[in-house]
Each structure stands twice: as structure tokens, then as C-alpha cells.
Amino acid sequence: MSALSDQLVSFAILAYLVAMISHAVEYALGNARAQVATPARELVGAGVGGAGGSLPAEPAVAGTTAAGRSGHRARLAGRIAVGVTALAALLHFGALVTRGIAADRMPWGNMYEFVLTVSFIGVAAWLVVLWRKPSLRRLGLFLTLVMVLLVATAELVLYVPVVPLVPALNSYWFVIHVSTVVFSSGIFLLGVVPAVAYLMRAGYERGRRSFPYTLAKRLPAAAALERLTFVLHAFAFPIFTFAVIAGAIWAEAAWGRPWGWDPKETWSFISWVIYAGYLHARATPSVRRNVATWLAVVGFCTMLMNLFGVNIFFEGLHSYGGLD
């Protein structure tokens, strides 16, 4: 089972890679017509509070057949990319299930399993988002890139063989705390994709034509990206809050204090405060949306710090990453 799980992870990485390439092809082929075709959906959310994102992305040259054909091919590539992403997610899920069976517990016992699960939640949530708003498909390029990086890091750097849990982790609070941490981290992971895309696209829409902004030429409208960023963060934040509270309750039972400023706890606190700052900033009319969105990106960096940095650099009660 354990070997099967390892193979499934490798296949999943390959599939993410293929999906990423298809997305890239779509991106390269994509032309203005594809965008003009779905303006109503791309401008969702701009209606009520947001600024209008209704700038014509490209001068829509009256449909030459070449443009039409490449537009068609781009759409095809995009659909293939989504299909392959779904397949990769299935393989990914299979890897988690077999790993769990091999270990006879939930597959969240060490950093390797943790990263694998978080990234799975991210991709699953992405598929849900895509199902509801197909117009956001082009974000998939960024998402699959993140997936390839994360899952490959897990496989190459963090891999550990299957072992049971240390007694400190052997508690039902383990399931409650870790499942919610994993789940909210997965959503935050997905949330940072539209956040970064928004920052680039907003710059592009403001007329910037230098390097990172030009990448955003064919992204969905900034307002829609910003809206998605917020929805994902607003969804993940209470879950993360609950996870931190559950962690404190568990820490009280295991170590005798709900909160002890252990490095892992400290960095969860930092993430929580930064995300609270993001929600505040977004609710404050005088704070510009891209400042708020930067806070979301910073928040995600602190999550990464907690996931990788704390396990690697610091020694604390949470040192069960499985690395020596």
C-alpha cells in the first residue's frame, strides 16, 4: 500500500505537469476573442461594490479565421488542462487514501503527509470554484504551477516512510485540529493564486506593461479575481480560527497550557493576525484593494513559514515533522 501511494504521488506530479503545460498552451494561444466571448461572466462581482473591470483587453480585430482557429485550439487546450487537473487530483486523492490505509490512520502525521493533504484540498477546492465559475479557468496555470512545486517538494525533500503516530498526537483532538488546519490551509493556498493574479492583473489594467504585469494580459478581470480572493479567505478564516482554538484545547490536555508561544503557535498567531488584518483592510473603504490583497499574500507567506520554516529551523513541542 505504501509503495502504491508513493507511485500515485509520482503520477500525480506528472499529471499536474501535463495540466500546467496545457494551460500554458491555452495561454499562449489565447486571443481576445476568447475573452470577449464571455464578458458577462468575467465581470461578475463588479456589479455591486467593485470597480468596473470592463476594459477591453485587446483590440478585438474583426475575426480573422486564424484568430478563430487559435481561439478554438486555446479553448481545447484549456479543457484538456482542466481534465488532466481533475485526473491528477484523483491520483493525488488515491495516494492519500492508500497512505492512510498503510499507516492505519489519517494521513496527517508528518510534514510530508501534511503538505500532500493541504495541496489536495487546494486542488479540490479549485475544481469546485472552476465548476461554479468556468470563466476563471486561466488561473489554472498558476494553480498547477503551485501544485507541481508543492507536491514535488513533498516527494523530493520531505518524504518519510509510513510510521504510526507518537502518543502526543494520538488523540481525537488530533483529527479535529489537524483536519481543520489542513482544510483551511488548502483554501488559503488556493486563495493566494487569485490574490497574486489580481495584483498582476490590476497593474495591467492600470496600464502597466512591464514584466510581471504583462503575464496578466489574458487573466480574468481584476474585479473578479479580487472577489474570488476575498470569498476564499472569508471562507477559510473562520475554519482556521476554529483550528487554532481546537489546537489550544488539545495543547491544554497534552501539555498543560492552552497557549505557550511555542514557535508553531507563534506563527499561527502571526498568520491569524495578518489574515484578520486582510479582512479589516478589505472592509475599510479608505484602504486600497491592492494593499489589502498584499496582506493576503503576506498571510500566505506566514502560513508557508509555519508549514516549512518552523519544522526545519526551530525546535519546539510541535517538532514532529519527521525530519532529522
Partner: protein, 562 residues
């Protein structure tokens, strides 16, 4: 969530002639402090200020690391210490930030609380003259019962409704602000809970070796280290005694990782008889007024030393684990009262004895014998060095009971007199004819005993915090208005977007409807359309029922169908 400002603008104060500059300054600073921007900046500062606490070693988490840091950075460490960097979360700068933040918070929620109570009591406002100016607008055929019937439909959907003649105003989503206030207030309560715990709470750590003779009672002197809140004195400790009867541990055969721990103890609480109890990691022992947590375990070798005068003393000293999987223990068995001449009663301080070294529960087959292979005692071995001389225990300098005072070794007051590997039951005869016997071991556990009076408050406020947060994030405030138009009235300018209005049933009157989301609410158009359909009574009824999207899954908030 764009704030479509909820607070009624305060009436501009009449400019006073000569405002007191001090008062003006104070008022201005207060306004600054309680603004959202300040809250934001303070939040960010708080996050940044927490970083040093995770990067630098902290006394509260790991005092040894702080000591090591002082050794490694002799110049920097005292400077850092002066600014409180090793107790970052209790430092002046950290406290200043969160106290300012909470002051700002209280200053922010108090007026909002007042406004909200007012809003809860107030009726939904009068419908605006021109409903077609609102973000949502529709014209439909009037239902049979007129305004009353419309109000009924809205009430059933839990809108707050008021009927004024032919007009119906309704509002929904007050829970948003209620949740927001509950959330922010809970945060203040969390802080109070933390403060209670740190003022009135206490904790102590110690080792407990198995056996009746090693039982401990809950007094301050019995702890290796204690932390008392400023409002706690040693007389406040609840009286109970604890004896370790047995300790079980199971380990994974493959790599020695622990699988299971259980400590069997006898608890003797004041006023109650002794009773047996068990506890383990994740399930502490709860006695009246304190909780006992199991933090670690190890072995205490039992050795008997027979001195020059033939007198024997037995020592059971916990050897502290060195942190490896095999629970290699490190410690010292000291005999300061050895070699006291029974005839004269005179003690020769230079003939004190100490044995330091390692205890290996499972010694490897071949040397070096410095690291145990497995945490269970399969091949127990003591690897000892004997010292004779003045141990320096009388000098009054507090030293660790778990290690030999190295100053005495350096100054030559204590001399090494041999080394030896001992198996259980073996005896070591030293150069002066005295003997050390290795009798066996006793398990010991590491305990943390704590009392935190704020914990219940913390738990409750964490719950309300979460509930408030959900309300604040997922509820949306919005208003709708309906106006029954007299029969034959022309639909107002701007036209209608509702198909139902296309063919008003001859002679019967029309209803004009408008909707206003008070906070960013992309699903509002949908909700409004459904509401309009429900009021006009057409469409499949089952789809209308329960169409309330209030508090629903945010990802599912559908985009406007307009």
C-alpha cells in the same frame, strides 16, 4: 465587504469659540486611535512584534536555550535581554501594542454597540420615493391581499417588516453587526481570561520516581521549578499528595517511537481518602484545584554505596533523558555523607563520593556504550565515572542536582578515581576498597502541575468569538421596499426588468419593488428576483421555499443574473 456606512453621520458639532487645545488634542488622538486604519496598523505591528519571540529562544519555553544563547553570543545577549527579547510576549513593547489595540478595539465597539441597539429597536426606514433608483428594481402584478400579503410573505422569510399604508419596508441581516460586535467583544473577554490565568494561576514542574518513599505533596518546596501569578501565594496551593505506583510505556519495535504511556498513581487529596488514578499524555489527572500533566519519563538507577566504615547508603536518582529515541539517561548519584567516621561523627569533606555517567536501557552489543538502542530495558547498563573529593554542595552556590559541579573538578577539589560499566546486580570495588552496587532501576515521570482559573472563560469566549465571526462574515444586510400602486398607474420611468410586469392582469393594481444591499452582496440580485417571484405568487413554489441564502456558503454566493 465594502462598508456602505451603517452609522448615521453624527450631526456636525457647532464650532465652539475657543476650543481647549488640550481637550482638542485628546479628542483627536482618541479619534485617531479608534479608527479602522489604526486598528489595521496595530494588527500588523502585533504580527511583526511576535516574530522575535519565535526566532530567539524564550525563557518561558526553553530556559536552557536562553542560557546557551548567552554562551554563544556573550556581547549581544545582554543587550537583547535588556529589551526583553527573551521574554518577548511579556515585554513592554509587545504589551504596549496589544494594549493599544485593545483600547482601540473597545473605543471602536462601544459606539457601534450603542448604534446597533438603536438600529435593532428602530423600524425599517420609509421607502424612498424613487424605487427605480435602487440597485434592484421590479414591477409586478399586485398579489390578492395587497401590502398585508406582501408583508406576510416577507415575514415568513424572517424579514423585519413594517407596513406604512401602501408601502412595505423590510430589512434583514442584523445578525451581521450582532456577530461583528460579539466577535470583537469576545476578543476582549479572551484577554480578560488570559489575564485571570496569569494573575491567579500557578504551575510547578518536577520529577516523580516510582515508590512510596518518593511520593510528593503539593507544596512549593517540592517543585523543581514553579511559576506563580502575582496574586498567588504558596498557601493557596491545594493540598494533595501523589505517589507513582507503576508506569507503563509501549514502543514501536521498528524504530523505538513511543506508542502508549500510562501512569498509575495514588492520589491523596485533603479531606478525601487515598484513591488510585491513571493518567497519560492527552488525558491529564484532574484533582481539586489543579491538573497534573504527564510530560515525559525515564529511569532512575538504584545504586548502593558502601563506604570505608562499611556503612551503606542507597540512592535512587533520576537520570535525565538526553533526548534520543533509546532514552539514554544522564545523571549523577552523589553521596555527600559518605565516609563519615561513625566513631567521631566527623565528616571528611574530601572523602565525599559522586558517580556520574550514563544509563543505557538497552546497551549495544559493542562499545562505545554511550547511546541506548531501545527505550525498553533489554540490556541495562550503567556507564559510570567515580569522583572523590569535596562536591561543593555546602558552598551555598545553587547547582543542579542532576550534574556534578564542574567548578570543583576544575579546581581539583574533586578527582576522578575510575570508570566502570555495570550491569544490574554487579558490584564495583574502588581503589580504596569501597563498593558500588547497581541494584536496578525505578521508572520516573516528569510532571507539570497547573492551575489556570481563566481557562473556562477562555473556552467560552473562544466559542462566542467563532460564532460572532461566522455571523459577521457570512450574513449580509439588505433592504427591500414594496409599494402598491393604484390601479392603472403607469410604470415609472426606467422601465421594468421583470417579465411579470409585461402583462398586468387587466384592471388589477401593480406593485413596484426595490432592493438595496447594504453591504457587498453579489447574490442579492438572485435573492431579490426570488423574493419578487414569491410575492407575485408565480413560479414553482418548492423552488421558492427556503430560498434564503442568508448565512450560506460564501463560495456558493451566486453571481447576479442581471
Amino acid at each position: 465587504m465594502t462598508v456602505v456606512d451603517d452609522r448615521p453621520a453624527s450631526p456636525a458639532e457647532a464650532p465652539r469659540r475657543r476650543p481647549n487645545p488640550v481637550l482638542a488634542l485628546l479628542r483627536n488622538s482618541w479619534r485617531q486611535l479608534t479608527s479602522m486604519r489604526t486598528a489595521l496598523v496595530l494588527l500588523f505591528l502585533l504580527a511583526v512584534a511576535a516574530i522575535p519571540g519565535s526566532v530567539l529562544p524564550q525563557r518561558g519555553v526553553n530556559p536552557e536555550d536562553v542560557r546557551d544563547y548567552f554562551v554563544a553570543h556573550p556581547d549581544l545577549a545582554p543587550v537583547l535581554d535588556r529589551i526583553g527579547a527573551f521574554e518577548a510576549f511579556g515585554s513592554v513593547w509587545f504589551s504596549a501594542i496589544y494594549l493599544l489595540l485593545f483600547t482601540s478595539l473597545i473605543g471602536c465597539i462601544t459606539p457601534r454597540l450603542r448604534d446597533h441597539v438603536r438600529a435593532l429597536r428602530a423600524k425599517p426606514p420609509v421607502a424612498p420615493k424613487r424605487l427605480d433608483r435602487l440597485p434592484q428594481h421590479a414591477v409586478l402584478a399586485a398579489p390578492a391581499g395587497g401590502a398585508a400579503a406582501i408583508a406576510e410573505v416577507l415575514r415568513r422569510r424572517r424579514w423585519r417588516v413594517v407596513v406604512r399604508g401602501d408601502e412595505v419596508s423590510a430589512e434583514k441581516g442584523y445578525l451581521k453587526e450582532t456577530g461583528n460586535l460579539l466577535f470583537h467583544t469576545s476578543m476582549v473577554v479572551v484577554l480578560i481570561g488570559v489575564a485571570l490565568g496569569s494573575w491567579y494561576g500557578w504551575s510547578g514542574n518536577r520529577l516523580l520516581v516510582a515508590g512510596a518513599e518518593n511520593a510528593f505533596c503539593n507544596t512549593q518546596q517540592q517543585y523543581a521549578e514553579t511559576k506563580f501569578g502575582p496574586r498567588v501565594s504558596s498557601a493557596d496551593l491545594p493540598g494533595f499528595c501523589l505517589r507513582l505506583d507503576d508506569f507503563e510505556a509501549e514502543f514501536l519495535e521498528s524504530n523505538g517511537q513511543p506508542k502508549f504511556f500510562n501512569a498509575k498513581v495514588t492520589v491523596d487529596e485533603e479531606g478525601r481518602g487515598p484513591r488510585p488514578a491513571e493518567f497519560s499524555v492527552n488525558s491529564p489527572l484532574r484533582v481539586d484545584g489543579a491538573n497534573v500533566y504527564l510530560l515525559g519519563h525515564g529511569y532512575a538507577p538504584v545504586v548502593r554505596y558502601t563506604d570505608r566504615f562499611g556503612r551503606s547508603q542507597t540512592s535512587t536518582t533520576p537520570f535525565l533523558t538526553t533526548g534520543d529515541v533509546g532514552i539514554t539517561g544522564e545523571g549523577v548519584a552523589a553521596f555527600p555523607d559518605a565516609n563519615v567516621d561513625p566513631a567521631t561523627g566527623r565528616r571528611d569533606p574530601d572523602l565525599q563520593m559522586a558517580f556520574t555517567g550514563l544509563y543505557l536501557p538497552t546497551a549495544p552489543q559493542q562499545g562505545p556504550f554511550v547511546r541506548s538502542d531501545f527505550p525498553v530495558e533489554r540490556n541495562p547498563l550503567l556507564n559510570l565515572v567515580a569522583y572523590r573529593g569535596n562536591l561543593g554542595l555546602d558552598a551555598g552556590i545553587p547547582g543542579s542536582v542532576y550534574e556534578l559541579d564542574q567548578r570543583q573538578v576544575r579546581t581539583g577539589k574533586v578527582k576522578e578515581v575510575g570508570t566502570k560499566l555495570l550491569k544490574v546486580g554487579e558490584t564495583w570495588t574502588l581503589d580504596d576498597g569501597t563498593r558500588l552496587e547497581f541494584l536496578g532501576t525505578q521508572p520516573y515521570i516528569v510532571l507539570s502541575v497547573r492551575y489556570d482559573p481563566g481557562s473556562t472563560l477562555l473556552l467560552v469566549s473562544a466559542g462566542t468569538l467563532l460564532a460572532g465571526l461566522m455571523g459577521s462574515l457570512f450574513v449580509r444586510r439588505r433592504r427591500v421596499f414594496f409599494r402598491v400602486l393604484p390601479a392603472g398607474a403607469v410604470a415609472p420611468a426606467g422601465g421594468s426588468t421583470d417579465p411579470a410586469s409585461g402583462s398586468p392582469t387587466g384592471g388589477s393594481s401593480l406593485v413596484e419593488a426595490g432592493g438595496l444591499p447594504r453591504t457587498d452582496h453579489p447574490g442579492f440580485a438572485d435573492e431579490f428576483a426570488q423574493l419578487v417571484a414569491a410575492v407575485s405568487g408565480d413560479g414553482p413554489a418548492d423552488e421558492r421555499a427556503g430560498a434564503d441564502r442568508d448565512g450560506g456558503d460564501p463560495a456558493g454566493a451566486r453571481e447576479g443574473a442581471e
